[in-house]
Amino acid sequence: MADLLPPLTAAQVDDKTKVDEKVDYSNLPSPVPYEELHREAFMSLKADNFEGLRFDFTKALNQKFSLSHSVMMGPTEVPSQSAETIKIPTAHYEFGANYFEPKLMLIGRVMTDGRLNARLKADLTDKLIVKANAQITNEPHLSHAMFNFDYMGSDYRAQLQLGNSALIGATYIQSVTNRLSLGGEVFWAGVPRKSGIGYAARYESDKMVATAQVASTGAVVMNYVQKISEKVSLATDFMFNYFSRDVTASVGYDYILRQSRVRGKIDSNGVASALVEERLSMGLNFLLSAELDHKKKDYKFGFGLTVG
């Protein structure tokens, strides 16, 4: 192994850029660790279909500071005891402020139903990133907060997660070769006294990305994304839970054209969904979302406008 070391160190610079390219973007917090692992697949397959009207307006006051107003009207599902989910029409307005600096990012959102959501991302040093996410609600015992500490090594990344109600998690991912990276995660949740361990692998090349993830909660997720051209990519996903024997496979496409972006997906549960974003003019985007569930005969359509 020692004589292999010199070429490996040269290759590790590439690995670092590959690893950077993987775990760089943290615009949206995600409750599942390794969100970057499935990033390409989830871009096509987990498009956020919504129902009703959605209007987002972002106004930049400064180079660093911007305010956002967002209105959402539509039926939202309320889980009920019976098998039928009840849809109640709701409308709410969300006000938000964003502050972006190269080393610090602050995002805050307040909703009319009294929920406050705050996110922080700070680069403490070159290699250490702190992320915090808090959600405060009016109802007791529903507020939660989570802190992540990310350490970026030369070809690995380690993350420590601390949440309220005694949630501790740690993830580690290492580039094994130029294209293959393996990782693992461990978590312990205090309130439902559960602990879990999981493993993940990701293989990528210029044209494709394949990932697989196994967790001790019984979830196995595998997906494959093939980039057919600059504008087109196809993705397929297979997830099953070996405890509850739930299997879902889905196939989707993602066309990124100059003036629009069309994403479509069909599922083995009989769900077909599509999301079309069209750029009407500079800074004005028109969104159309549709979701057909043929098994449950549930059809959801939404439209929206994004300004700024």
């Binding site: 003036q259 069309v262 599509a274 079309v276």
Partner: protein, 97 residues
């Protein structure tokens, strides 16, 4: 003539004929019923499949085709623009005024 003969003459044979007839006829009737039942089911399931396929294609394929057409139109316009801007040097004096 024939009905009268059936009615009067071979009473037994006519009844037997009727029974024979009716067994075949009843089989035929059963077959016809089954055929109608099966064809109804087939029509219904074909209809259902056509509905599911139609709406799914409507959602997945139609926006894509529309957007691709627009992209093609945009490409053509750009190509025209570049070709228009490409030709002025030799004949640029004339259309300018």
């Amino acid at each position: 003539m024939a009905p009268k003969r059936i009615g009067v003459g071979g009473g037994d044979s006519s009844i037997l004929a009727k029974i024979a007839n009716s067994s075949i006829v009843s089989q035929g009737r059963n077959a016809a019923c089954d055929a109608v039942y099966v064809s109804k089911k087939l029509l219904k399931s074909t209809g259902k499949a056509a509905w599911i396929a139609g709406t799914t294609l409507l959602i997945l394929v139609v926006p894509l085709v529309i957007e691709m057409d627009r992209e093609q139109l945009l490409n053509e316009m750009e190509f025209q623009q570049t070709s228009l801007l490409g030709t002025p040097p030799p004949a640029g004096g004339m259309p300018m005024y």
